[in-house]
Amino acid sequence: MSATAPLRNRTLSAEELARRERKIPEHYWGYILLAPAVLLVMALILYPVVYSFWLSFHSKHAYLPITKFIGFENFRRLFFESEDFWRSIELGAIYAFGSVTLQLVLGVSAALLLNQTFIGRTFIRGVTLFPYMVPTVVVVILFRWLFNDQFGFFPYMLDLLGMDRDAFLWVSPDHVMLTVILISTWTFFPFVVIGTLARLQTIDPELYAAAKVDGAGVFRRFIHVTLPQLASVLFVIVLLRFIFMFTKFDVIWLLTGASGLGYFVRTLPIYTFTVTFNQLQVGAGAALSVIMFLLLAAFAFVYFKLFKREENL
């Protein structure tokens, strides 16, 4: 009977109390359990970022064991002695603005269409997402053929339209930027469609009914009901798409690679790659990536400042 006395009635001996004290205090458990995640983030994100900042202040060759601290020399050279650098920023901006604008126009239009009721809508909605699911390598190889001077579909279309196909070579110095923008638009516009369509479906149909009763036609309903409702999601989509496109590497590189044509679409990420791995100047490459990072941070900052108020709609 006495052996099964309730636990809470048992008085604790001094020794037992001391042992309890030695246990890890509860709040430390929080840190201990968080530690793996924190370590993972530090190792996988923080370390590379810090390392690339560190590298950007050094002269470092890719193969030769030379590492020399040179302060801001990498940046100075880029800013004041490199035409290629400024050109890459310009091309990068053209590419990002161009492709984001087209993606937005195409994506929002497609979403508006897909939000209508028609037979086979679910199927078409699925098909619309295809471009985003096809690996970029495949996309670029496909488009290379579609744009091919001799056998391609697009030059053939120029023929049909009665235009001189040789006067408009898609993959040529004059038009390669346009071609890259078109390919990128095709590949990435489904991203805009998904976000926009999801938002469109949550718009209260009574808002449209109210606008109809108020006397708003199709155009006014779009301006006064649809657009304001889309503002918040478009805000995020544009921000993300711009960051993605400004750092986009694969589409451009796969289409033009290290070929001479690449010179005409040498955006900032491509330029960074060439400096790092063709010219083997790792330090300068790191400086370029730091610049890219700071540019995007500045862009995001200004963007938020300008449009933040739209967010809480």
């Binding site: 209260d204 009574e206 009914a209 109809k212 009763v213 006064h224 709609l313």
Partner: protein, 368 residues
């Protein structure tokens, strides 16, 4: 202001008739409430009147003019929605002014109208705010303000109070009624809440499965339901239904034999009920016509039952009890109500009963 006429109006979705040839004549300035369970076609009917839903058959007339093919903006109506449907990016004033602006009214007149409507609804201090900064009740007012500034031929309300809590709903109900008394505009009001229908309507239109079951002033529908559905839907607490059999009572009297008793039919109703003799019937009797006590006056009948639950509600109490399989309720004095388990006598006011024919659930109509 206008009189609105529905002439055999139908709405079909594929082979399903959501609204089935309903005809209704709404007088200028009348407050008509469409009520019924969900899916009865009341909202669809309203949307057809608004012009938001094309009509599959029949005609809708405003002041004698067929408006079937007129878009909403040309029908000169204003609508208040369940979700309020305020434009979130516009201020209250802009929301109210939007329709007038699209119609091309001069700025000064818009301002005056908005100001007048805002005064009427006590929302002047909200004019500069955005909808998200408003409470549910305030949004409701703004939605009504947006309708009022239009000075329309008819107001259409689509379950406008459903998103409000009980207190606010009661308050807005009174306000809508007051507003209608001031504006004297035709109102078509859709709800599934029978209290709103009873309190607001000049006439109730009770619908079921796309058809009109009964039309009439609230108290008339309440007192003389045409069938069991109508009797059940209108009135709270709900009407009692007691199954029984109509039998001969004495030489020329009638009585209804129910579980545990016999209720003599009031003399005034004998002739009407005579044809149902020896048939199964159902008695419909509202809780207020059942009282604790003896059948000590003409036209009343008595039976006994054991009290199950008593619900005191302040001004009255409801006593629930069972007769066989059916649960019944009686209104009683909250200060002097019977207790659980007590066996008491109930007095049924047989002059207020409804005799329901179980075959088609119609109420045998008594000459009035």
């Amino acid at each position: 202001m206008a009189n609105v006429v529905l002439d055999k109006v139908s709405k079909r979705f594929g082979s399903v008739a959501a609204v089935d040839e309903i005809s209704l004549d709404m007088a200028d300035g009348e407050f008509v409430v469409l009520i019924g369970p969900s899916g009865c076609g009341k909202s669809t009917t309203l949307r057809m009147v608004a012009g938001l839903e094309p009509v599959s058959g029949g005609q809708i007339l405003f002041d004698g003019q067929v408006v079937n093919n007129l878009p909403p903006k040309h029908r000169d109506i204003a609508m208040v929605f369940q979700s309020y449907a305020l434009y979130p990016h516009m201020t209250v004033a802009q929301n109210m002014a939007f329709g007038l602006k699209l119609k091309g009214y001069p700025k000064e007149e818009i301002r005056q109208r908005v100001d007048k409507a805002a005064g009427l609804l006590n929302i002047r201090e909200l004019l500069g705010r955005k909808p998200r900064e408003l409470s549910g009740g305030q949004r409701q007012r703004v939605a009504m303000g947006r309708a009022i500034v239009r000075d329309p031929k008819a107001f259409l309300f689509d379950e406008p109070l459903s998103n409000l809590d009980a207190n606010l709903r009661a308050q807005m109900r009174v306000e809508i009624k007051r507003l209608h008394q001031q504006l004297e505009t035709t109102v078509v009001y859709v709800t599934h809440d029978q209290i709103e229908a009873m309190t607001l309507a000049d006439r109730i239109v009770l619908m079921k499965n796309g058809k009109i079951v009964q039309v009439g002033p609230p108290m008339e529908v309440y007192d003389n339901p045409v069938n069991k559905f109508s009797a059940t839907f209108i009135g709270a607490p709900k009407m009692n239904f007691i199954p029984g059999r109509l039998v001969r009572d004495g030489a020329d009297g009638l009585a209804i034999e129910i579980e545990g008793g016999r209720l003599a039919v009031a003399e005034s109703r004998r002739a009407t009920y005579e044809p149902m003799l020896d048939q199964p019937v159902e008695i419909g009797l509202r809780p207020e016509y059942l009282a604790v006590g003896k059948a000590d006056r003409p036209g009343t009948a008595e039976f006994e039952a054991v009290i199950d639950v008593v619900e005191p509600m302040g001004s009255e109490a409801l006593a629930f009890f069972r007769l066989g399989d059916v649960e019944l309720a009686a209104k009683c004095d909250p200060h002097n109500s019977p207790r659980h388990g007590e066996r008491v006598s109930f007095r049924a006011d047989m002059t207020k009963m409804h005799l329901i024919d179980p075959r088609d659930e119609s109420v045998v109509q008594v000459a009035r």
